[in-house]
Amino acid sequence: MPKDHGIGASQKRREDVRFLTGTGQYTDDISTYGQTYCVFLRSDVAHGTITGLDASEAEAMPGVVRIFTGKDFEGIGGLPCGWEVTDKNGKPMKEPAHPVLAQGKVRHVGDPIAAVVAESLEEARNAAEAIVYDIDELPAVVDMKAALQAGATKVHDDLDDNLCYDWQFGSDQAAIDEAFSKAAHVTTLELINNRLVANPMEPRVALGEYNRANDESTLYTTSQNPHVIRLLMGAFVLGIPEHKLRVVAPDVGGGFGTKIFHYAEEAFVTFASRQINRPVKWTSTRSEAFMSDAHGRDHVTKIELALDADNNFIGLRTDTLANMGAYLSTFSSSVPTWLHGTLMAGNYKTPAIQVNVKAVFTNTVPVDAYRGAGRPEATFQLERLVDKAARELGVDPIALRRQNFIDSFPYATPVAVEYDTGDYTATMDKLEEMIDRAGFEARRKESEANGKLRGLGINCYIEACGIAPSNLVGQLGARAGLYDAATVRVNATGSISVMVGAHSHGQGHETAFPQVVAEMLGIDESMIDIVHGDTSKIPFGMGTYGSRSLAVCGSAMVRATEKIINKAKKIAGHLLEASDADIELKDGQFTVAGTDKSVAWGDVTLAAYVPHNYPLEDIEPGLEETAFYDPANFTYPSGAYACELELDPETGRVTIERFAAADDFGNVVNPMIVEGQVHGGLAQGIGQALLESCVYDENGQLLSASYMDYAMPRADDLPFYLVDHSCATPCTHNPLGVKGCGEAGAIGSPPAVVNAVIDALHSGGYTHVDHVDMPVSPHRVWKAMQG
């Protein structure tokens, strides 16, 4: 019988009611008295010098309150990067200035040149069009290889070249050289991890408000982490102390990483509202989002695997070019390095691994974390490569994987991380059970009878989630701690508000987090509410990304709840005239062990706030506790995925027929929500594999600049998914034993799809096709078939 409450129950989401009735409150739904509207004039060229900028006529137009240009931001900080990567020669990465409004140069299509603040949106647009400006166009740096050639045009004049860093990591050169020199077989693959646009359905919005009475600014913004924004914007850009700056992220319509970062528009509306002493609101259009939201992925990689005569993996070497875009977005530098290189071992006990990454500036939108962030890039390379190796060696791709699985834990990889637990054989067994592999040949024959090819692709994945141990990431260059925080405020009547640093923008925290507290206290979830998204209400937490909310913030919440229980037991002990060591809490009752003497939860909470009969000499009144939790290690969700598809050899069109995912997330609090997270991740991974691609032309013009050309996965592109999370090896180092589930689907699914495409093509005799780059569009498949 499935549980109906507490940890492990598939409780229906309480937040759904407001979303289903149109009463959610997203940032654009907030309007304030005296509000003005902001429109950015954005560069329509990829690279150029601003030789003239005259807003005087535009400023005189109807409704215009004020027009801001780069001049207004002289002497004001630029947008900071939160992670300093040190290159292989021990030098810090190059870190060019990232101004709020362009300072003399534009460096990508969409780079903001000026901002109009007006009484209405249309008036702001009219004036933005009327701003007179001249740009001397410079050659655009788009291709990463070309960007690194000597004499290439520089994106930043004050840097030596377009190389942000040249990073090397993992085993030493001698170990790698030895592995490859001993190899009986080496498999090599060159591939591209396609540039994507995160595309949460809610475009970004920022509303800045200034209160002259107390010199306090409020920013309402579509953010996954309001405290991070407060810290970055207050301390590094605008110089506003924390106690004078409030950041509110209300209902947020999806994030997927792209709403982690601190953006120019947030700083602008906050700054401008202080200047004009009126609220300033900016609402992104979708077209604007394509050229101002940080993009994701965009790696070009060569990867090589060395195997011995028994098909054991003995060495792995990768060389990646990673596109940074024109500026360093908040966590951009960490994605191709620490979030990517550390995962190159995958699920395998390869003893020698070396990762090389060159990060490159180009005249494109900044690139940063997108669902999975570095880990999908690692998984894609490795799992495509292992599949290719199996094909070259003529061995079963599952057997080759199984043979090389890491099978004892903890396991320290050659790439710095230590996997605490896992069971890759179990998830692969489960997957094989789910996909009816035995029936595949019959299904293939049926497809062939209809003129179609059928392919089955399989892969494993591992990810590092629950980011992150602060001391470790500090050594690696993080400029912030990555703990999280929770305050459990028990009210006099026993109801509870839990203020959390994590932010929910689809993940269902408002439902799942109370299940944990309810389980611990033995009270009903309806007595517990989660408060999130407002820095004036919540403790300093780092927000939601990297599948960290439950593993890190949830752990803080557990710790705070434990403190509550300890104190409540003292109070109960006093009320029951017993030692607190003898008090047991069960089902909301405090009982003296071995007796029938008990007091209810509500009696204790009331005593805490009405301390008439209370041990005031020993403990303070009230019942409110805060805990900060800094994880001891990352968590390591893992699993095995399978994709079965049909390929139309006449058109090249691929149709997903079945998709199965066997995940190990450790313990699960709300299975319904976990499965939903996997579904969503799978759709984004399948989208990357088959549909989505952010394309620039050689002049740096964005070709896929709307949903007319950027193919978002739709309902008719996707199947029902088969998902399972029953193979659970609980995380060993956090109190809930949870690992995180938000990114798994996006990390694990792209190689399964491409592996299946290759399998289908080979079954049809197209054995010359080693690889097809993503998205595996009909056109690309057809071209590959032509040879």
Binding site: R125, E650, T651, S704, D709, A711, M712, P778, K783
Partner: protein, 262 residues
């Protein structure tokens, strides 16, 4: 969006009069025009909505001809020609999505003549007649290239007359993002021959594939198309497919259309 006056006449005569005003532009279903107005790609002073003109709405089926009012939505076409002209109904029900089909109209689509739109293929393959407030134009004379038609300023498509073929099929290969036709082939077989119209592919907009028509008129079957191919020159090449790929698809889809129609 720039500001403009929105006029909503209820007769063709009033619409034509309104369109005589300076910088006036007609608004049909708006599913293409409104997005481009939002992007400030058009700046009419007066926008004349054709949505309330009952006399240009509806479908009549008479003596082997389906006549569709220019203001008829895709949804209505799909429903009302389902029996009389199933291939045309199939085309209509695969345009955009349900909400778009409830607003978008056949007249709007034909007047816009997007090179990837579906209706131009049907009109051209059917040898339809485009009826306007002033004249009747044969489909062969109507389409003049991407986004260009024989329509004069202020001329409104009031109806389209489709001779019902003996057999027909429309095969659309969707561009994955826009869901417009990457290539669409409409094939219609009449007593006096077969017509094959292709949308989505050519830089000159919708066109007839005459070699295929000749071959099929001679012998109606997929075998008749063996060995026939088109050059990728002059075909649209974009991030979704090269000209060569589009040319290849035309041959594949035409064969499929023959099978579907047979």
């Amino acid at each position: 969006m720039y500001s403009f006056e929105l006029e909503i006449p209820t007769t063709v005569a009033d619409a034509v009069a309104a369109l005589g005003k300076d910088e006036a532009q007609p608004l049909a279903g708006g599913q293409t025009l409104i997005p481009s107005l939002k992007a400030r790609l058009a700046a009419p002073s007066v926008l004349v909505s054709l949505a309330q003109i009952d006399e240009i709405k509806g479908v009549t089926i008479e003596g082997g001809t389906v006549t569709i009012g220019g203001g008829t939505t895709h949804a209505t076409v799909a429903a009302e020609v389902a029996e009389a002209y199933p291939a045309l109904s199939y085309l209509a029900i695969n345009i955009g999505d349900p909400a778009v089909r409830n607003r978008g109209t056949i007249g709007g689509s034909l007047a816009n003549n997007d090179p990837s739109a579906c209706y131009p293929a049907a009109a051209l393959a059917s040898g339809a007649t485009i009826v306007t407030n002033t004249r009747e134009i044969a489909a062969d004379d109507y389409f003049e290239g991407m986004f260009t038609t024989a329509l004069e300023e202020g001329e409104i498509v009031t109806a389209v007359k489709f001779p019902v073929p003996e057999a027909a099929a429309y095969i659309k290969f969707e561009q994955p993002a826009s869901r417009f036709a990457l290539v669409g082939v409409f094939l219609a077989k009449y007593a006096d021959g077969v017509r094959v119209a292709v949308t989505g592919a050519s830089e000159d907009g919708v066109f007839r594939w005459s070699e295929a028509e000749d071959a099929l008129s001679n012998s109606f079957g997929a075998d008749a198309l063996e060995g026939l191919s088109l050059s990728g020159d002059g075909m649209i090449s974009d991030l979704h497919g090269s000209g060569d790929y589009r040319a290849h698809l035309i041959a594949v889809l035409t064969k499929r259309a023959v099978k579907a129609a047979a």
